[in-house]
């Protein structure tokens, strides 16, 4: 079997396995999940290694590990086609890391654990399927498979105003896919000259380049906005803060960490690659919009009090930077964009994991009511500081590598328009420092607030409708440590030794960047 299909097959096996285990045996379910996601991680590691080895040996195909089976033929030509280039390999690796850490971060889910993990697997199937596909139809199918579990995951297991958030998120993302679907039809029916066979295959469509410019002008914005909604592009980002804030921990991790990357990846892989002429014409509109995302997201994060909202707006800002850099359309900036996807995926997953772990004990995420946690839970707090440093771009961690590459690449444009916007975008680094340090200073290093010490035990004292609760506090336990350490190690690897991965990505982008320039 093709190694790429193995990702989906393993997940399907997990789906069946978890489905068959009775709901009361929660530990069996958890360990099945852990074992399955271990296999996924192993496969992903092997994929990276083999991919690099094949490139080293001189494999020049655009997509390696390619495989294709005809599915529908004649009335509509659909194949189940898989294949990966450097960008998708990076994304698959990211997904594998976030999925396994997500499993450990959901270890404490008690309520309807079986159903929770079933939807969780569905979501993962969508994510992996999306990244391995090179057929537009299956890609879109997996894309939607990844979206719909969010509704129930947030609606049932979420917190706060979860029903509103779940509905808003689902409808906005599905709205995006409505735009997208029109674009896909356009791409399909203009995928070949009049006599040629129509195809959904990304590589063939790009090679045919048959879409006339006046149709590209119509379908490019639809497709870009369709994916852009998931990439949290201004003004379609409003689902993101509400959705992330209400989602359960691992779902926030997976959603911000991986799912939002589907947006950026799709913009690049589908909209920009298949409709380059229109992309060149209209890029400036979207550069302005994503530029607004970058700065506006960062400013919004500064004034939020809920930890999850802060991080969600920070995601808007960082994911905006991904699209912003992609639209700069040169190889360096685009490499930076993909690195930023990786980096943001890892650190935002870490953030959401930590916030979930803190919230699980204090039952509040409001930074006004938290303080001095460093004394109480040093492990979690140190991790939080590391995540914060990665987010604001400290050298040695992944954020620096990504943002540096993006801004260097973007500044290569010599015209005023791009330069002004890049300088504007750069300010987000400073603003990021503001909101990160604000949180770190207040809740980690500040004086103890609402926390009382009884013997060796710290308790969080909360007053709710006149009732006083005492929640015992503790530091991370084993499964939380696995989740956080796994993410931190990944962030550090990218930060300290980024060359292999940026080479792998940059090589795959060469042809596209040349076409767009």
């Amino acid at each position: 079997m093709n190694i790429l299909s193995a990702f989906v097959v393993v997940l399907l096996v997990m789906l069946v396995a978890v489905f068959l285990i009775p709901g009361e045996k929660k530990n069996a379910i958890r360990w099945t999940m852990a074992a399955g996601s271990m296999v996924i991680l192993g496969l992903a590691g092997y994929l990276v290694w083999d991919f690099l080895a094949q490139r080293e040996a001189g494999a020049t195909d655009k997509f390696l590990f390619a495989d294709s089976t005809v599915w529908y033929e004649g009335v509509i030509n659909i194949s189940y086609s898989v294949g990966v280039d450097g960008v998708s390999v990076a994304m698959i690796m990211l997904s594998a890391i976030v999925v396994i850490t997500g499993v450990f971060a959901s270890w404490a889910v008690e309520d309807k654990a079986k159903e929770y993990f079933l939807w969780f697997i569905m979501l993962s199937i969508g994510v992996f399927g999306f990244f391995i596909s090179v057929d537009l139809f299956t890609m879109f199918l997996f894309y939607e498979v990844a979206l719909i579990p969010m509704y129930l995951l947030i609606g049932v297991w979420g917190s706060g105003d979860k029903e509103y958030a779940a509905m808003k998120l689902t409808l906005m993302l599905m709205g995006g896919s409505a735009f997208l679907m029109v674009g896909i039809f356009g791409i399909y029916y203009f995928s070949a000259e009049d006599s040629g066979a129509l195809t959904f295959n990304l590589e063939e469509i790009a090679a045919n380049a048959a879409m006339p410019i006046e149709w590209q002008r119509r379908f490019f914005p639809l497709t870009f906005v369709g994916f852009g909604v998931l990439g949290a592009m201004f003004p379609f980002h409003t689902w993101s803060p509400d959705g992330h804030a209400s989602a359960p921990t691992a779902v926030s991790m997976l959603h911000a960490g991986v799912l939002m990357k589907l947006g950026g990846y799709g913009c690049f892989r589908v909209a920009m690659t298949l409709m380059p002429e229109a992309c060149k014409e209209q890029a400036w509109i979207f550069i302005v919009l994503t530029g607004i995302s970058v700065v506006y997201g960062a400013f919004s994060a500064c004034v939020q009090n809920d930890l999850k909202y802060i991080n969600a707006y920070s995601s808007v800002s960082h994911c905006g930077l991904v699209l912003f850099a992609l639209l700069m359309m040169n190889q360096t900036a685009m490499t930076g964009a993909i690195l930023q996807m990786l980096s943001h995926g890892l650190m935002t997953a870490l953030f959401f994991a930590l916030i979930g772990m803190i919230y699980g004990q204090t039952h509040t995420r409001d930074i006004r009511y938290l303080g001095g946690l460093m004394q109480v839970m040093p492990f979690l707090c140190v991790c939080y500081v590391i995540a914060g440093m990665a987010s604001l771009g400290l050298p040695g961690l992944s954020g620096f590598v990504a943002e540096m590459t993006i801004f260097v690449g973007s500044f290569a444009h010599e015209d005023l328009f791009h330069r002004v916007l890049v300088i504007g975008g750069c300010t987000s680094i400073v603003i990021t420092a503001v909101y990160i340090l604000r949180v770190v200073g207040k809740i980690l290093f500040g004086p103890l607030y609402k926390i009382e010490k009884v013997g060796d035990q710290y308790n969080y004292v909360s007053e709710h409708h006149g009732e006083v609760h005492h929640y015992p506090l503790r530091d991370a336990i084993w499964y939380e440590k696995i989740a956080t350490i796994g993410l931190i190690v990944s962030i550090a690897i990218i930060g300290l030794y980024p060359v292999w991965i940026s080479d792998m990505i940059s090589e795959s982008l060469e042809a596209v960047a040349a076409m767009l320039n």
Partner: protein, 480 residues
Amino acid sequence: MDLDYSQFLSMSHEVSLVVVLIVLLLADLLIKNKKAFQYLAIAAFALHTVAGFYSYTDLAGDAFAGMYVSGAAQSFVKNILNVGTLIVFFFSFEWNNNENKSGVGEFFFLTLSTLIGMYFMVSAGDFLFFYIGLETASIPMAALVAMNKKGTEGAEAAAKYILTASFSSGVMLFGISLIYGACGSLYFDEVQAAFTNITALHIFALVCFIAGVGFKISLVPFHFWTADTYQGAPTGITAYLSVISKGAAVFAFMSILYKAFANEPDVWQNILWWLIVITITIGNLFAIRQKNLKRFLAFSSISQAGYIMLGVYASSQTGMSSTIYYILIYMFTNLAAFGIISAIENKTGKVGMDDYNGLYSTNPKLAFAMTLAMFSLGGIPPFAGFFSKFFIFAAVASSKVYGDYVLVFLALLNTIISLYYYLLVVKAMFINKSESPIETIKIDTMSRVALLVCVVAILVIGFISSIYMNIYNISDGFAN
């Protein structure tokens, strides 16, 4: 002209159904046990359904000098209608045993009479023959709708149905007479040849005709009977109305548009463009407000009718095949939803959306099946509804005409609205808490089997590509 009896062979579906009807009439006299009669009726009809698959292509041909046409496409469509009707019978088993006060024999006889009318509609080669089929399918339906003797709702539903049905028949008949006036014939192929050089008369005739059919398919603005009738009728009959009756009307409508009016597609495409947009939008907007699940599904099925018409609008072979495919999947999906509603209604009498709060905690399997049905209706992958929606949109988009892409776009935006209200049902079952959720119920074996069939169909049809490709290969039979 001498009657050539071999032409009855091409009418094998109809002949076999008439045999079933006669058997049932006799059996109704002899068998007093409701259960035994139902088993016999279902077995006889199942036999007829199975036999239908074997008359697939060999017996193609005309009868009655071309008034009746049959071929692979018609045969396939009749098989779809058969399977759907069989599922409805399975779901109605419990209701017929316990609640049906009007006679079980009548239930089966009337339902199958409407079915034979639908066969005629689908196989018509002439406007008059079509009209006869339509009436045969409509009048017994009014009696079926009235079978619910609880309260006055059944009577109200039937009265609304029969009044609007006769009014729209009148309008349609007027349209047909104008077509005769304009074209000098009622045979589809002769109308096709004569329906050129469009004048106001042609257009007026076409509009009257479309209005008449629009009633059967419940397109907006001919939909006013739908919600009340669906609510008042027994749930099994509601399911039958919303799927089989609607499906047959669409097939017939499509075949007439593609045959008789094939030379001037622009004229009816313009009309359909607006009808589709209005139907989908109004159906969706009204569905949001419904609290009774039967009314809810009534409006949902109005908007679904709009989506079905997209395939007809496409005016191509892809359009035909995607329409048939859509109806096939819509049948399983909608029948699953109605099956669950009817099972719960039979046991508890509850049909309100709020009654379903917390259903997952007490009846996880039913809630799961309902979720599948809702997702499939909403067009969520990997369920069958996604594939049918995708293909029907693709059929419209294949024209590469700007206006068609606008239509697809508007329809797609509407799927978001529809997703909202389908998710409301899911939300009620999974998320909402209830003080007194529906108790754990055990549904009867017949419903269970039918529900299982529907669920499996929803899960697998999209993945089996040969189904759609086969439909594509036979579907051109509707155009010639």
